[in-house]
């Protein structure tokens, strides 16, 4: 007699012990959350350490300037490299994690446009300040305020409160940097963004284990 095995029975993963089921459920959930996480804790923590190193390095080189002249020619490549590596790594990891995922968690074209316009607006503010004779080097954290607030608004509209808090925290770092003076702003940016990113890493890790 021909016998076609039922793929849902024991030999193909059929009924099993509740303890095994609990272990499998836990393991599968953790693995899936890790694989689908667009901003994994390790990436956030690494970005936190890198931004601390990049801005901290600039702060060390400008803190002794009297009068303040801004980052040296040697500092600029460090800062640009950090921005490029940060952007490339973030996009690559997010693309890999969200491959094959569709639905509400993806940003809509309108939301992407708002986020992009926020950076354009930040660049426009810097250009206006430069035209008024105020160099970016004197107020480096200005660039964080508009994108931070925009990101908070976008994520609040999506009821993503962890990301919303992160956006607001970035904007607060930008605002506090304005009060810290030209050299101190670099220290505020490095320490503030490091705290925001490491805090976000901890929150994501906690969420994944919950």
């Amino acid at each position: 007699m021909n016998h076609t095995p039922d793929p849902t029975t024991a030999e193909n993963g059929g009924p099993f012990d509740p303890k095994q089921a609990a272990a499998l459920l836990d393991q599968t959930t953790q693995q899936a959350r890790r694989k689908l996480q667009a901003t994994p804790p390790w990436l956030l923590a690494t970005r936190g350490v890198l931004v601390l190193a990049a801005c901290g390095g600039i702060w060390l080189s400008v803190r002794g300037q009297h009068p303040y002249r801004g980052p040296t020619a040697a500092d600029i490549p460090v800062l640009v490299s950090f921005i490029v590596i940060n952007f490339a790594a973030t996009v690559a990891v997010a693309r890999r994690a969200t491959a094959g995922v569709s639905g509400k968690s993806r940003l809509s074209p309108a939301q992407i446009t708002v986020a992009a316009l926020a950076w354009v607006a930040a660049a426009a503010v810097l250009a206006v300040l430069a035209a008024a004779g105020v160099s970016y080097g004197h107020y480096p954290t200005t660039v964080l305020i508009i994108p931070g607030v925009a990101w908070a608004a976008i994520t609040a509209a999506r009821a993503e409160w962890r990301r919303c808090v992160m956006g607001l925290a970035v904007a607060v770092v930008g605002a506090v940097g304005l009060l810290a003076g030209p050299a101190g702003a670099w220290a505020v940016a490095g320490i503030g963004l490091c705290i925001v990113l490491v805090g976000a890493a901890a929150a994501v890790a906690w969420q994944q284990r919950a």
């Binding site: 793929p7 993963g13 099993f16 609990a22 499998l24 899936a32 509400k104 968690s105």
Partner: protein
């Protein structure tokens, strides 16, 4: 409480993995068949059979779309399926004494 009280549709290793993987997505999100297959490590035929059973119970929904010559199937956990997994998890906790 006995193991008989566990949802028999979910209390199968392969289907438990499918449901738990889809539950890791935010509500309203879907996963392509190929990504789901890649994450769980099943053959397409085996995955189709288990998905069909879950779909018959309205635990998952699938949608086929076509982009030119490429056709794509996406799979999502329904609210009914999410509730069933929650109930299954609670039942497991009850069986294992809250461990």
């Amino acid at each position: 409480m006995t193991t008989e009280e566990l949802d028999p549709l979910i209390h199968v290793p392969t289907r438990l993995k499918i449901v738990a993987t889809l539950a890791a997505l935010p509500e309203g999100d879907a996963l392509t068949f190929t990504r789901l297959q890649d994450m769980i490590g099943l053959t397409p035929g085996n995955l189709i059979i288990h998905l069909r059973k879950l779909e018959e119970a309205d635990y998952v929904s699938s949608e086929k779309s076509r982009n030119g010559a490429v056709s794509m199937t996406t799979v999502a956990l329904t609210s009914h399926g999410r509730a069933a997994l929650d109930a299954y998890t609670q039942a497991l906790r009850g069986l294992l004494g809250g461990l």
